[in-house]
Symmetry: D2
Subunit: 330 residues, 4 copies
């Protein structure tokens, strides 16, 4: 049994709290959140105590921390937890700044802390099965990867202004998936972005509609397409083409019901957004983390994966301005 402290009682914190409650080898002991009512809601459901950071990290019975607080607090919390010998599960990104990220990685490394980054899509049952079949050589040598990743609804202008921008908040997951599936590190990245959905994306120097091409040294290619608004729901699909065929994984639908009417045949649109679509992956990533902590094993997706995905975001921002393949230097 592993005792946890959860930092952050927002939407994603609640998802993790629920999974901790379900997991037979985890116990949620503490919640840290500056907003009392949010913390209180989770505490009531789980019986965890609301404490401050100092108390939580000083309690030697707390073996693991779950960092789901505001992005700007991630690096400090991770470093503090590492210093206290805790195992760390941290939502992405580690930090929006590469310098701060590197500093945090160095501290984690020095402390020898077990660290897992919250790239939950790697644990989606369909994407994971696809990856395992790739690794087993089912379609031979990988040649092209195509990632479709479209949010159902744009952020509010307020959220957009307060965040790291679309590439760093949204595409970062796709960049991690590209690295994961290409089987080789990308060395060049091309990006182009437009503002076709809402004018305030342009106002904030951002893009609501974007396409990307990545390329590895051996010539493998990856395309990503993004939109911040797909009215038919969260669209998350992957295709991998190899020398012996194609593997693809698609969306999840609420039900299997099909209606045959006088105009058309219709079925459910995909599940609404990430909480619904990736519900199973949040549990699976927690399960992987717990398994790693118990076996003192390095998680499949660690701090350097978080860092590399951020470097791809930087290259994408540069390319969207330069109109050319930008080199990637990890």
């Amino acid at each position: 049994m592993i005792d946890f402290c959860l930092f952050g009682a927002g939407l994603i914190g609640s998802v993790h709290a629920g999974n901790l409650a379900r997991h037979p080898k985890a116990r949620l002991r503490y919640i840290v959140d500056p907003r009392p009512e949010a913390a209180q809601r989770i505490a009531a459901q789980t019986g965890a105590a609301i404490v401050d950071t100092e108390t939580a990290l000083s309690d030697p019975s707390i073996r693991a921390v779950m960092i789901a607080s505001a992005t700007k607090t991630h690096a400090d919390l991770a470093m503090a937890a590492a210093a206290k010998g805790k195992a760390i599960f941290c939502e992405k990104p580690i930090d929006l700044d590469i310098g701060r990220t590197d500093q945090c990685l160095a501290a984690i490394e020095k402390a020898g802390a077990l660290f897992q980054i919250g790239f939950n899509r790697r644990f989606d049952p369909s994407f994971r099965a696809l990856k395992q079949r790739l690794d087993a050589g089912e379609i031979g040598s990988i040649e092209q990867v195509i990632i479709t990743s479209r949010d159902p609804e744009a952020e509010t202008e307020e959220a957009l202004a307060g965040g790291g921008g679309v590439f760093r908040e949204m595409t970062i997951h796709d960049f991690d998936m590209a690295r994961n599936l290409l089987g080789e590190e990308p060395v060049e990245l091309f990006a182009t972005g437009s503002c076709l959905v809402l004018p305030y994306y342009a106002k904030h120097g951002d893009y609501d509609t974007a396409m990307f091409v990545l390329r590895t040294a051996s010539g493998r290619q990856c395309h990503i397409n993004n939109s911040v608004r797909a009215v038919y729901g969260y669209d998350q699909r992957i295709e991998v083409h190899g020398s012996n065929g194609m593997l693809r994984a698609g969306n999840r639908m609420p039900t299997s019901v099909e209606a045959f009417g006088s105009e058309a045949v219709s079925r459910d649109k995909p599940l609404y957004f990430f909480v619904e679509r990736y519900m199973d992956s949040y549990y699976a990533e927690l399960d992987h983390f717990i398994e790693c902590v118990l076996a003192n094993k390095k998680p499949d997706v660690g701090a350097s994966d978080g860092r590399k995905a951020m470097i791809l975001c930087e290259a994408a921002l540069a390319s969207a301005k330069s109109g050319r393949f930008e080199p990637i230097k990890f």
Copy 2:
């Protein structure tokens, strides 16, 4: 090159005429139809001459006849053509009366005429591929067959009154398919019919909605469901369950277009009716007939298949009244 005479210039006659025009080894020479304008329409497109029955059958250059005229003329035309040594392609049924059917079969047999009955569904590319895979043993021993067969639109009362009834006009195709797929002759048949669509089906002692169960001596089972009205289009599907799995074949859609909208994901409803759905099968059955004529080979689906399907219709009519398994005596 085989010279044909076509009897009947109605809807199905036109389909056959078009296929004869396309087929590299067939030539449509004569058309016989008491309705001049129908015959004229096909003649104009194909260059065939409009003649009477006597002229057509007496011309020794005519090697094959295509009988697509009114049902009550089938047996006489088939017997006359057989007497003249023609190869015969005859739309189903041979006759609505079993006695007349037997008389016709005897005449065909005596003349040694090559005879193919128009059970076109056997030549549908999907159903035929399914049958070939069954025969190749892909799913082991056959256990259950499920046939869905639903027309898009009810007949007019006039057409209903003038025809042989729903079982003999519509279900007969399903009975043939059941025999074809079960791999053994059925020995018992259960039927139940209702009038849920249009009151005039009841008025004419008929059923617009029906279910059937057939059973072979070894215990294989087949279910058929029928409706005369499926607002979403012609619904023609087959499932065969065997000891090693299931094979199924489905509907055909006009296009592969899918629309992902804010309410649902929708695609085309199935093709409207038999001419659209079975367009390829009409060509394929003609091709099979021509191949048989050229090789003097017995067609895969002959006069006795037409007769047996009619006997199943009789058993179905009896069962729908008796409420019990009726024995089948071929």
Copy 3:
């Protein structure tokens, strides 16, 4: 918060125990099972105490019982729990004997006990959505229902010999679904069964392969097909045809991965069996029960639904012998 006692720590008892642990308004307090090791396994995971029936039913803090023990104990436990004022969730069937079932229903009625029967399929998300759309009139008046229900693997001969037979153990769920979807009570039932899978089904006077037709007074029809062995997994599908179209619900697959290879395009076969396929429905039926207990509301599926499904089983057994529509007398 509702305190529960669970009777039966077998496969299905474990599923219920897991769901009780997850449910925010339930607490599993006691486990009763004559097999100590099975009870111990659940106790270790949940913290529940292992007690005897007397202790559990005498504890006034226990508000609800979950009966998942051997079939022959259901009626006695339900009557004892009813006498103590407990809310009762009981796995189907109440009893294999209609007389005992009626006696149990009378006792429950007399005690005014809240009673829900475990027809979990009614709570399957897809089947429930289909039913709600039927009730909302989406496809107009119901005309035909087609239920496909095939187990992945036959029972052992020992299990078969010790159980109530295929119709009472397996088809009973389909009969309940037929009643649920037809929108009218069936008045006649036809059944035919064969032994095509394993000889020991015949030896025990049972059938491993069966087809059914039910009919309501107004002429609505329902077909059910069953097999005890579908090598491709648990096959659970529903089609409902109405005056304005068709609604259908299908199987669930483990992942959405599709492989495009040089021979074919392949995807996952359906989930293995009922625990996997109906995982969500077990949680949903528990949630409904808890909601009913808290609101003192009659569950959607009660004791008389259990009784009526058993009567349909009796009619099916009679029809499979008589070869005719058997009348149904509820």
Copy 4:
């Protein structure tokens, strides 16, 4: 009735010859091909006469020419036919050289000749339906287009060496489709190509695996992915994302048969290659051409569409070398 002369009796010439034979308003009168046996094969099937270019173009009864000969002969034949007042159907490309293409366009323009280019995919039933629904505004304003276009099998080295290269021979169709679907002309194009399939593509300075991004002035984006070898068959798919949803069109399969086995559920892989996949589109483009000739109407896809697609090929070749968005100047 329109009398045609066909130039070129190769694979694509045979397809056109078959469609001319089927079309009720067309007659194939002449075939011109330097290879006597190829011409003879088509002549035997259709009854057309084998003549030389001079004879064919000088016959005033020939109203239309079908140019399906070697690429390098297209421009001369088109100019000669235009000078004689023939309507011209010309396979793409007009010429691999933009200068020659411009010269040919000027001659056609000057002669006032009706000219249709063989971008057959525009006439594919699914792609055409998708385009019509886009034009009808079904998904609002177009934002992104994604084109998947993968051949089943690489060319031989000989064919590659003798042709115009992969971009000009294969991608040209996708570039035309991109222009057709974007609803605005592209102004920038990015391309990257690799040699992952066969070394001789590199040897000839070509690419067997490529990705493209096009962009219009308003910021609409299009991605194309190409491979010269998809072992699962010809992969031709389109997705268009708009402000109100997505429309997509997929591959065509030989049959609808699905096999449910103990390992997986499998269905047919897509049809093998362009002749099978686009069989209907070849007929439909001919039908459109004939309709235009009869009505003296400008075809939907003309000489300037052929020229613009070639210009996109040039930009793609430049971008694959420069690694940057290349401007497009039509």
